[in-house]
């Protein structure tokens, strides 16, 4: 999607995100198929628990999000990386990951689980594929 010069994407850690906006960006990014978007209470709990959220805005429209939990000392989990389909392939996802990594600092490893169809994306933005990762899956 072309944008006029000066009509840029802005990034912030401070802007509050409502659960409706969270739901909307999950839907517009394609991540909704893998998140409990039908259950607003569950989305609200997710959103309330993140340590911080980096968001990307085009004017007043939320176009990308990176949600992170961290201990600020060793590990961080990037729970949701979502970019509106109309704004993908413009470097927004990469920027959100870079800002998230900068925010947690050099002592912290940033970890994420990729959706299967996004697995080729992360090595392209400099993330290391790590095979020794283990899960106990949610049952609901």
């Amino acid at each position: 999607m072309a944008r006029a010069s000066g009509d840029e994407i802005s990034y912030t850690q401070d802007r509050p995100i409502s659960h409706a906006e969270f739901k909307s960006i999950l839907e517009r990014s394609g991540l909704a198929a893998r998140r409990p978007v039908a259950n607003l209470q569950r989305l609200e709990k997710m959103l309330a628990a993140y340590t911080f959220v980096v968001s990307a805005w085009h004017r007043d429209k939320l176009v990308g999000i990176s949600t992170v939990w961290t201990d600020w000392a060793f590990s961080a989990y990037l729970a949701d990386l979502a970019v509106d389909r109309d704004y993908q392939k413009q470097g927004i996802g990469r920027r959100l990951v870079d800002l998230s990594k900068q925010a947690v600092g050099p002592e912290v490893t940033l970890i994420l689980l990729s959706a299967p169809d996004a697995a080729t994306y992360y090595p392209k933005i400099g993330m290391e594929r790590f095979t020794d990762c283990f899960l106990l899956r949610r049952s609901q």
Binding site: S10, Y11, T12, Q13, D14, F52, V54, W72, R94, D98, L99, K101, Q102, A103, V104, G105, P106, G126
Partner: protein, 93 residues
């Protein structure tokens, strides 16, 4: 007139002052930003990595630049002097 104009756009001191203002607003330091030496370590003065992102985003807005990936390191933002070097590199040419 031309001479005055060129004086007006000389960046150095003004840049440092603008950086200092942004640090004051966004770095959440325990020390007073006004009294910091240009080479003082901002992380030692209480800036967290999380706050450094707010500083960086505010600098991008203030100076109308975008820090490239290679500059998104602790070293770029660890003092007023290193921030000033980075801004001057991004705004030169």
């Amino acid at each position: 007139m031309d001479f005055q104009l060129s004086i007006k756009t000389m960046p150095t001191d003004n840049t440092a002052e603008r950086i200092r203002n942004i640090i004051k607003q966004h770095a959440r330091l325990s020390a007073d930003a006004a009294s910091l030496a240009p080479s003082a370590d901002l992380y030692e003065a209480g800036m967290t990595s999380h706050a450094s992102v707010n500083v960086m985003l505010a600098l991008e807005g203030e100076f109308e630049v975008e820090f490239p990936d290679r500059m998104l390191t602790r070293g770029t933002f660890d003092s007023i002097a290193s921030i000033q070097n980075a801004i001057e590199e991004l705004t030169s040419g």
